[in-house]
C-alpha cells in the first residue's frame, strides 16, 4: 500500500493542522464539481478516493497513538454525474455510451435519429458528445438549444452553466486575471521592479545568514 503521507504530500512529522490543510487543498483540487461532464471525471474521483483513504488512515494511526476516541470519516464526496431521469430516457443507450467515453457510438445513434425526434434531450446529449471530444464551442450551442427547448430541466441547465463557467474568468481554481487590463496580475512595471528588489534583498539575507 502507498504511504498515506505521500498521498497527501506532507511529511510524517507534520502537525494535525498541516495535514488537515493539505487534505482540504487536495479535496478542493479533485472535487467532482471541477470535473463535471469531463471525460476524466472517473480519474478525478479515483484520486479523491485515494486522498480520502489516506486522510482517514493518518487519522486512524494518530488516534491510535493518542488512544483517544474515534474520528469522523471524511468520505462521500463522490456523486453521480447524470440526472435521475437517465434510466427512463429514450436515449438510454446513448447515455451509457457517453458514460463509458464511447463517443463515436453515441454520436452514431444520435445522428441516426430522425429530425422529428430531436428533443431537448437529444440536443443535450449531442452537446455532451461534443463536450467530451473537446469541441466546447459546439457543445455550448447544443446545451443552449436544449435549455431553450426545456427551460425547467436542471440537468441541461447545469451542463450549460458548466461550459459557460469554463469560459468565464472565475472557473474553479483557475484565474485569468482581470480580462482587459495589461497584466493579469495587475502590477505595473514599478511594482515588479520593487518586488524584485525585495526578493533580491531577502535572498541575499538568507545567503549571508547561512
Amino acid at each position: 500500500m502507498t504511504n498515506p503521507y505521500e498521498v497527501l504530500g506532507v511529511s510524517p512529522s507534520a502537525t494535525d493542522e498541516e495535514i488537515k490543510k493539505a487534505y482540504r487543498e487536495l479535496a478542493k483540487k479533485y472535487h467532482p464539481d471541477n470535473y463535471a461532464d469531463s471525460p476524466l471525471a472517473d480519474l478525478a474521483e479515483q484520486k479523491m478516493k485515494e486522498v480520502n483513504e489516506a486522510y482517514d488512515e493518518i487519522n486512524r494511526m494518530r488516534q491510535k497513538g493518542k488512544g483517544t476516541g474515534s474520528v469522523g470519516s471524511n468520505t462521500g464526496a463522490g456523486g453521480s454525474y447524470y440526472g435521475n431521469n437517465a434510466s427512463t430516457s429514450q436515449f438510454y443507450s446513448v447515455r451509457i455510451y457517453i458514460q463509458r467515453n464511447m463517443i463515436s457510438e453515441a454520436e452514431k445513434i444520435l445522428d441516426g435519429t430522425p429530425e422529428g425526434n430531436r428533443t431537448a434531450e437529444w440536443h443535450y446529449l449531442k452537446g455532451m458528445c461534443a463536450f467530451r471530444k473537446g469541441w466546447t464551442d459546439q457543445a455550448t450551442e447544443y446545451f443552449r438549444k436544449a435549455v431553450n427547448m426545456d427551460p425547467n430541466n436542471q440537468e441541461y441547465r447545469a451542463a450549460l452553466n458548466n461550459v459557460q463557467g469554463q469560459g468565464s474568468f472565475n472557473y474553479g481554481g483557475y484565474r485569468t486575471g482581470n480580462g482587459g487590463s495589461a497584466s493579469s496580475t495587475g502590477c505595473s512595471c514599478c511594482d515588479i521592479c520593487a518586488a524584485y528588489m525585495c526578493a533580491d534583498c531577502l535572498c541575499s539575507c538568507c545567503r549571508s545568514g547561512c
Binding site: 479515483q46 461534443a130 469560459g167 468565464s168 486575471g177
Partner: protein
C-alpha cells in the same frame, strides 16, 4: 504558431526562472549538436515547454551544468542536464514542425516571404529528413496534422472546433506517446488536446487581420467585430480551463512551480495580450 507557451516571469521564483532558462539553453545547445548551428534559430518557447514536460514526466533532469552560451561567449549560461532523450525529441519536433510550417508558407504568404522560404527550404529539408528518421512517430503525427488541416480549411462552414481539431489532436497524440498506462494516456491526451486547441486558436486570433487582408482561412473571420474579443476570450478560456483540470491529475514533481506558473499566469497573460491587442510587457520578453 510558435511562441505562445510562455512563463510569467514576474510570478516565478528566481530559482525557477534560472531552471527555466537552463532548459531553454540546454535545448538550444542540443539543437546545435543534433542538426546545425542554424537550427538553433528555430528554438521556441513551445519547444522548451515540451522538453521540460518530457524531463519532468520521466524525472530525467539530474542537475545543472555551468557553461557559456555558444552564441554569445561572454554570457555565462547554465544547462539543465538531462539523462534521456527529452532534448533530442524536442529538437526533432521543432525541426519537423518548422519544416512543415515553411512548406505551408509557400502556399499562403506574401511574395517576399515566399522568396525567403524558397532560399532556406533546402537546408531544412535535409535536417527534416534526419529528424524524421530518428523519430518517425513524431513525423507521422505532424504530417497527418498538416494533411487534416488542409482539408478542414478548404471545407465549407468550418467552425472553431473543427478548425482547431487537427492541431489539438496532434498534441494529444504527441503527449500520449509518453503515457505509461491507460489512465495516463487519457489524462495526457486531454491535456494535449486542449493545449493544442488553445495554441491553434490563439494563433488564429493573432493572425486575424492579416488573414482577412490576404483572404486566407481563419476560424474567427465570420465573427462580428464587436463580439470578437468576448468570443475569443470565452473559447480560449475554455481550452485553458480544461487543460488545467487535466494537468491537476498529472503527477508533476520536477519543474512543478514553472508549469503552475505557465498555466495560471503565463498562458492567460499571453492570451490577454493577443486578444486585447496589448503591448508585450518588457519584463516578460526575453530569456
Amino acid at each position: 504558431m510558435f511562441g505562445y507557451l510562455r512563463v510569467q516571469k514576474s510570478e516565478l521564483l528566481v530559482r525557477e526562472w534560472n531552471a527555466y532558462r537552463a532548459v531553454y539553453c540546454g535545448l538550444c545547445k542540443q539543437m546545435g549538436r543534433d542538426y546545425s548551428f542554424l537550427t538553433r534559430l528555430t528554438l521556441s518557447y513551445d519547444g522548451t515547454f515540451y522538453a521540460m514536460l518530457l524531463m519532468s514526466l520521466s524525472r530525467s533532469c539530474k542537475g545543472f551544468d555551468k557553461g557559456r552560451c555558444t552564441c554569445n561567449p561572454l554570457k555565462e549560461c547554465r544547462f539543465a542536464r538531462c539523462e534521456d532523450d527529452a532534448y533530442h525529441k524536442a529538437a526533432a519536433l521543432s525541426v519537423i514542425s518548422v519544416y512543415y510550417k515553411l512548406v505551408d508558407d509557400l502556399t499562403d504568404s506574401g511574395f517576399w516571404r515566399r522568396l525567403l522560404v524558397r532560399a532556406v527550404k533546402p537546408l531544412f529539408s535535409h535536417w527534416h529528413k534526419k529528424a524524421a528518421k530518428r523519430y518517425p512517430e513524431l513525423e507521422q503525427l505532424v504530417f497527418d496534422m498538416m494533411d487534416a488541416q488542409r482539408q478542414v480549411e478548404t471545407g465549407e462552414k468550418t467552425g472553431v472546433d473543427a478548425a482547431a481539431h487537427p492541431t489539438a489532436q496532434m498534441l494529444a497524440r504527441v503527449l500520449s506517446l509518453e503515457a505509461r498506462n491507460e489512465a495516463e494516456r487519457r489524462i495526457f491526451s486531454e491535456f494535449g488536446y486542449h493545449l493544442g486547441r488553445w495554441i491553434y486558436l490563439i494563433d488564429a486570433a493573432d493572425d486575424l487581420e492579416k488573414d482577412i487582408k490576404r483572404q486566407n482561412f481563419n476560424p474567427f473571420r465570420d465573427c462580428p467585430p464587436e463580439d470578437r474579443e468576448a468570443y475569443e476570450t470565452r473559447v480560449l478560456n475554455q481550452c485553458l480551463a480544461r487543460a488545467y483540470d487535466a494537468y491537476q491529475l498529472m503527477t508533476v514533481v520536477d519543474f512543478k512551480g514553472i508549469f503552475d506558473n505557465m498555466l495560471l499566469y503565463g498562458f492567460p497573460a499571453k492570451q490577454n495580450t493577443v486578444v486585447y491587442r496589448l503591448k508585450e510587457e518588457k519584463d516578460d520578453k526575453s530569456v
